[in-house]
């Protein structure tokens, strides 16, 4: 069994190392200097292996650290009572969720598929050795942090020591039960597709974890200790069952069946399917236009759900919020004062909000998946005049769609400003209105330009451009950073409007210059 663990571990490691090298090769500029033979280069292999080891340690420890810190330790501050039992109580309840949602054994991962189905390793030996390793990793990963955070919260040492083993025990019981269910009823569980029961259980346990402590009901330490000992004993018993279970291969062949059509397609397939489902099947949809306008109108009408409906929804929600705030400033003079201040200092925050409500990414994705993906294989569609003609039409549409919710916000902000006490400088009203609209146009242009200039997809609708990913990520980061910026509305509004106008002009010039060359399927 040790041997099969060694083989499977090195298999997993090789595959991880190769993925790391592959990602390195995707970095722009750098990739030009890296040959295909990189995969056999020993130096880079060792480097990737080190990253892989760091990754293994991170999954073992960092995850547990974040889990206990965020889900339990920081949550303690929500409760008035300074009771260490709350820590154990939440921990115990969340452990039950983890045991069904995060089993390791019933997660259809690629490395299981490679080992069991492709390499035909002994399924039982493979599973058991890796499962034991996973369980040990859980115990080792939890121990430092149950000790650290537990002791900090005043939990007795013995309880802190038992906690990781309690987790292992609950996981073993749950795994044994799922195996038993397979043996008895041939039901296979896939932990990534939890059944309704499991969702309900998760909901109940979440509520049980956080609500009762609020009212002073918690699991006493002694009860937890007893429970933990029982669970650990039962876990040992279940481990015996897990070792005796004989049908690992049959079970995994069912669980991993979807992997046969390629191992990385699932997410991609699901996205493709979902985008396709966005096409509305309604015979009454027609168009009286001609040529590109005809083509575009049908695209927009058949993607109503994705385009206008979503924009209308955001507009309605925005209108609702605006109305709420208007009412609030009328009845609460104190709130009015605060909100008035916000209107005059917090405009940068709206960069992030406008970024979030912009539908650009979803729209360009649908454009690709449902339209350009196929159309780009026709030569007439790749003629510069076609590309630019459609670019202009699409720019108009995408701007129009996003302007609807933007208009509600743009009109709402000056109103809120006025009714919350107004401002001495009348220009502020105009600046609020115009800057929100220009931000909306900016994001629309930005998304479409990135799509046209970096067209990131290949024939198989995989994103192949790391530049595109870096730009997307960078956009997010920049917008997010604006959350913390406080600037005078007048100054910021005027600058952001000027920037947007300038950006749009430059972007369109670039698009007319380069899109005919860049807008094609990636090889």
């Amino acid at each position: 069994m040790l041997n099969s663990f060694r083989i499977s571990f090195s298999l997993k490691n090789t595959y991880r190392v190769n993925s790391i090298i592959y990602s390195i090769k995707q970095i722009p500029i750098l990739k030009r200097f890296l040959p295909d033979t990189l995969y056999k280069n020993l130096g880079i292999k060792i480097f990737a292996m080190m990253l892989s080891a760091v990754w293994e340690l991170m999954t073992a420890f960092l995850g547990k650290f974040l889990y206990i810190a965020c889900m339990i330790f920081f949550m303690l501050s929500l409760y008035d009572a300074d009771d260490p039992d709350i820590f154990t109580h939440i921990f115990a309840c969340l452990t039950v969720i983890g045991a069904v949602m995060n089993t390791y054994m019933f997660d259809p991962t690629n490395d299981k598929y490679y080992a069991i189905c492709l390499m035909r390793m002994d399924a039982k030996k493979y599973t058991l050795s890796n499962y034991l390793y996973a369980i040990l990793k859980v115990v080792a990963g939890f121990l430092p942090f149950t000790l650290l955070f537990g002791l900090l919260s005043g939990v007795p040492l013995i309880t802190c020591l038992l906690m990781p083993f309690f987790v292992a025990g609950v996981k073993l019981i749950s795994a044994a039960y799922i195996l038993y269910r397979y043996e008895k009823y041939e039901k296979v569980m896939n932990e990534n597709l939890p059944a309704k029961v499991i969702w309900s259980l998760t909901g109940i346990m979440l509520a049980a974890a956080y609500v009762p402590p609020y009212f002073g009901f918690v699991l006493p330490n002694l009860a937890f200790l007893l429970l933990a000992i029982l669970v650990i004993l039962a876990g040992g018993f279940c481990l015996r069952y897990i070792f005796r279970f004989q049908q690992y291969r049959e079970m995994y062949q069912i669980l991993l069946a979807d992997k046969k059509n390629g191992t990385n397609v699932d997410v991609k397939k699901i996205t493709e399917e979902q985008t396709r489902k966005m096409i509305i099947q309604d015979a009454s949809i027609t168009s009286k236009k001609k040529g590109y306008e005809y083509f575009n109108e049908l695209f927009v009408k058949r993607h109503q759900k994705l385009l206008w409906r979503a924009a209308k929804r955001v507009a309605a929600i925005s209108a609702f919020v605006v109305a709420g705030l208007l009412a609030l400033v009328q009845i609460e003079p104190k709130a009015a004062e605060v909100i008035n201040g916000l209107m005059l200092r917090y405009l940068p925050y709206f960069v992030f909000i406008m970024y979030l409500i912009n539908r650009g990414t979803a729209i360009t994705q649908a454009m690709f998946m449902n339209c350009d993906h196929s159309m780009l294989s026709y030569s007439f569609y790749r003629k510069p005049e076609t590309i630019l003609r459609l670019f202009a039409i699409r720019l108009r549409e995408i701007v129009k769609i996003n302007l609807l919710p933007a208009f509600v916000i743009a009109a709402g902000l000056p109103l809120i400003l006025f009714f919350s006490g107004g401002t001495e400088n009348v220009l502020n009203y105009a600046v609020l209105f115009i800057s929100i609209l220009s931000m909306s146009v900016f994001f629309s242009v930005h998304h479409l330009i990135c799509y046209y200039l970096l067209q990131p997809y290949n024939v198989n609708t995989e994103i192949k451009s790391s530049t595109y990913q870096i730009v997307t990520w960078g956009t997010y980061m920049v917008c997010w950073l604006f959350i913390n910026v406080r600037l005078d509305t007048l100054v910021f509004g005027v600058s952001v409007t000027a920037f947007s106008i300038l950006y749009c002009i430059i972007a369109c010039v670039l698009a007319y210059q380069y899109a005919p060359k860049t807008f094609k399927l990636r090889a």
Binding site: P35, D36, R276, I279, Q281, A283, K290, G291, Y292, Y294, F295, L298, F299, R302, H303, N370, C371, H373, S374, M375, S377, Y378, S379, F380, R382, K383, T386, V459, K520, L521, A523
Partner: protein, 235 residues
């Protein structure tokens, strides 16, 4: 009219996929492009369709001694997996295509007449393309190329996954098309190549080579082709 390729080369990193290819394809013929897996057939098509840049050499159209660059209108490319805009119905797709290409289409017919050519049932014409079967999508893609009549038609493994009836229909269709066009047809299926094509061209080790049937019968010719493929892979 001839499609002339002169010294065409293409590298992927250090691997030379197309090696200094020189060849003349003539109008009125269907060329069967044979090659082993990974020989570079699709790369050659992608180069001719200008989907990827070449690393050397040139290709152009020679019309009665007059040389000119190929344009997007000259080339039709049918991929092995048919791609059609899923959000349109068959009829809408054709209408759009005709709208855009009107000035290049000779003797324009009605949309239904076009559907007749590829034998597409009346009830399917107003369905969304996303609900078309593989074969129907393939027919649509072919039809667009029949309407546009590009001078050069590149077909990448087009009949491989069609049922026998559709495949036969498509074969007949191609035979009627070839008069005014250069059709280059890549396939793995030897019988199909022998049955449909006027010339057999082999792509192996980055080189294009015409295999002459001389006066061999089909069986002998087949063996000759296999031998050529085999020998060259050891070269």
């Amino acid at each position: 009219m001839e499609l002339v390729i002169e010294g065409l080369s293409k590298y992927f990193e250090k691997k030379e996929v197309l090696r200094d290819i020189t060849f003349r394809f003539q109008k009125g013929k269907i060329y069967g492009l044979l090659g082993r897996n990974g020989a570079g057939k699709t790369t050659l098509f992608n180069c001719l369709n200008r989907d990827i840049k070449t690393d050397g050499g040139d290709f152009y159209i020679d019309e009665a001694g007059q040389r000119r660059e190929t344009t997007a209108d000259d080339i039709g490319y049918v991929l092995s997996t048919p791609t059609v805009p899923e959000f349109l119905t068959g009829r809408e797709f054709l209408k759009f295509f005709i709208d855009i290409n009107q000035k290049n289409i000779q003797d324009l017919k009605s949309i239904d007449e076009y559907f007749e050519i590829i034998n597409l049932a009346e009830e399917d014409r107003d369905k969304l393309l996303k609900d078309y079967s593989h074969g129907m999508k393939n027919k649509m893609q072919m039809l667009v190329n029949i309407i546009a009549k590009p001078h050069i038609l590149l077909l990448d493994e087009p009949l491989t996954s069609l049922d026998v009836v559709v495949a036969e229909e498509m074969k007949q269709l191609l035979k009627t098309l070839k008069e005014d066009q250069i059709i280059i047809f890549s396939t793995h299926i030897m019988e199909l190549a022998l049955d449909l094509c006027d010339e057999i061209v082999i792509l192996n080790h980055g080189k294009l080579e015409l295999v002459d049937q001389e006066n061999l019968n089909n069986e002998e010719f087949k063996n000759k082709i296999i031998d050529t493929l085999r020998e060259e892979s050891h070269a």
